[in-house]
Amino acid sequence: MAGTGTTGTTGTTGTTGTTVTDERARLAPTFVAIVVVQLAVILGLYWVGRYFG
């Protein structure tokens, strides 16, 4: 992000001292869970359309 120094892969977040890399690593399981749930819902809707359509 321009002007903040927070988006570099090893920059610090400025408040906790943790790196951006640490922060994103901590969030990764949540991101994966969101994508998996979304894919499951889309596949479910696809199945509904095929089965009942």
Binding site: L27, I34, Q38, L45, G53
Partner: protein
């Protein structure tokens, strides 16, 4: 409505308003009034984020879309989880650590005053208009069931909302949103249960859904890459991502929700609530509309659900023609009911063909009747927003009708309350404090914030009266937004995503983006979700070019 329904509505609304007013004790300074002193838990903020988007329009028009078009509208939300992931690592930590009141405040730090002001004014125009639509939707419903004048109905919804938002600030808005989400989900599940129990004796849900599937209601996904189709997998996964990035990342009505969170982590978690829940919830609401379609396959509903102009038609020169259509509808309905029952029982190709022909006959009659009303009244006539309310009022059990009507009321109040709060915040922070009176004390800004809330309340109530004349309401809201959202997103992409852009580039880029959206919308048949992509890309490209051309020679 029955007495018990009115009691439920009255009790629920009284509780919400009194509880909202109670919050005024915690709003003695501007930061408490506008941002709850950045102290709210993630789950309350997350529900507030969802509730601000889940308005009465969602309950009336989205169920209507489920009734008319089936599940396909759910594709609109496919981009939302992706947008939430992007926002959680970009703008959420960014805005929260900058400790801004509004998203637009940052644009002056990054670019200049003119870019901040133009973006803020665009937000005020677009959000002010969409807020009026949010009040108009339940006003339509109530004007029908109570026989009230539309203006009075708008005021009946708008005045209490303005009152508790003006006095209680964002605390009142957030905790009203939490109540709303609880009651809306409960109400929808209750409606689903009643609809399933209302299927004909001996007919299972699976058989009934095969009938809905034959009518095309169960097809949620459309993989055609066609820019002229409104809702496809691709418009949802690409066009809507841009819309949601702009809506949740650059629109003060949403940004202000997560600015109230206790920490960056809690702000992120509040967005993850929507990322996990939004698509299943919207699918449930659309599915409710499909169940309403099934319900009216087997239970004789009105030929036209919007009954407002029908008394005049039946008493006027078109009375005989309309009566003949009603008789034709009765006959067509009976044929379709028998065909649907046969299809649910046998499921073979012949019964499917017979059902489709019968369904087409019913739709033909309804279409001709709608055209007759339009001709007779010389006005737009839309039916789709009235289907679910008609079911709720006439077929839900006593008490649950009141609960759902209260939920529709509350959905309108909480959504518009959140938007009034954000409109007032932008007005005070980005316009009044920045341009008109920069050195007043906190008590003065708190007073002006309350007055701005009241002023916007008056504006949206007046605009709501006109908004009801437009077609499917949810599309109206999204169409208003898509003329601005992509361009505003483009400015924030320039601000946060690149170091090369400058103030001149962002300002000219924003104007260029809106011109591009206007040209594409006016000269092509590209559907509105794609306008968000056009706006964002145009602003980014024009902004970078102008920035390069206006950069000082030494910097180049």
């Amino acid at each position: 409505m029955r007495v018990i329904d009115w009691l439920v509505v009255a009790a629920y609304l009284t509780w919400v308003i009194v509880d909202g007013l109670r919050m005024s004790r915690r709003t003695k300074e501007m930061e408490g009034y506008l941002l709850a002193s950045r102290s709210l838990p993630w789950w309350a903020v997350g529900l507030s984020v969802m509730a601000t988007q889940l308005s009465a329009i969602t309950m009336t028009s989205t169920t209507g879309q489920g009734y008319a078009d089936g599940l396909r509208f759910v594709q609109f939300y496919f981009g939302l989880p992706i947008a939430m992931i992007i926002l959680s690592v970009t703008v959420v930590p960014f805005f929260m650590r900058a400790r801004v009141y509004t998203a637009y405040e940052y644009l002056e730090r990054r670019f200049d005053l003119k870019t901040r002001t133009l973006t803020a004014v665009l937000f005020l125009i677009s959000r002010g208009l969409s807020c009026s639509v949010i009040i108009a939707a339940p006003a339509l419903i109530l004007s029908i069931i109570l026989g009230w004048n539309l203006t009075l109905t708008v005021l009946a919804i708008g005045l209490p909302t303005v009152l508790y938002t003006m006095i209680g600030g964002v605390q009142a808005v957030t905790w009203t949103d939490v109540k709303q989400m609880g009651i809306v989900v409960f109400g929808i599940l209750a409606a689903v249960a009643v609809l399933i129990l209302g299927l004909p004796d001996g007919m299972g849900l699976g058989s009934a859904l095969h009938v809905a599937g034959a009518a095309g209601k169960m097809q949620a996904l459309d993989f055609r890459f066609d820019l002229t189709q409104k809702y496809t997998f691709w418009s949802g996964m690409i066009g809507a991502v841009f819309l949601f990035l702009s809506y949740f990342g650059c629109d003060q009505s949403q940004v202000q929700r997560y600015l109230t969170a206790k920490s960056v982590q809690q702000g992120r978690q509040s967005l993850f609530v929507s990322a996990f829940v939004k698509i299943p919830l919207q699918a449930l609401i659309l599915f409710t509309g499909v169940l309403v379609f099934l319900f009216f396959l087997f239970n004789r509903g009105p030929m036209l659900f919007n009954s407002e102009p029908l008394e005049g038609i039946k008493a006027g020169p078109h009375a005989a023609e309309y009566a003949a259509m009603e008789r034709e509808y009765d006959a067509a309905f009976e044929v379709r009911r028998e065909a649907a029952t046969a299809l649910a029982g046998r499921g073979d190709d012949a019964s499917r063909a017979a059902f489709l022909a019968a369904d087409q006959a019913v739709r033909d009659v309804r279409s001709r009747a709608s055209a007759l009303v339009r001709d007779a009244t010389h006005a737009n006539y839309a039916d789709v927003n009235y289907v679910f309310p008609s079911f709720v009022l006439n077929y839900m059990p006593a008490g649950l009708t009141g609960l759902l009507i209260a939920a529709i009321f509350l959905a309108a109040m909480s959504s518009s309350g959140g938007e009034l709060n954000s409109l007032a915040t932008t007005t005070v922070i980005d316009v009044y404090r920045r341009h008109l009176k920069p050195d007043a004390d906190d008590a003065h800004y708190l007073l002006v914030s309350k007055l701005a809330t009241a002023g916007w309340g008056v504006f949206v109530c007046i605009a709501a009266v006109y908004a009801v004349q437009l077609g499917s309401l949810i599309e109206v809201v999204n169409r208003y937004g898509s003329y601005f959202y992509g361009s505003i997103l483009g400015v924030f992409i320039l601000a946060i995503g690149t170091k090369r852009a400058n103030g001149h580039g962002a300002f000219v880029g924003l104007i260029g983006g809106m011109v591009a959206v206007g040209l594409v919308a006016g000269a092509t048949k590209v559907e509105f979700l794609w306008l968000n992509v056009v706006g964002a890309v145009a602003v980014t490209v024009v902004g970078l070019i102008v920035s390069a051309l206006t950069r000082p020679a030494a910097a180049r």
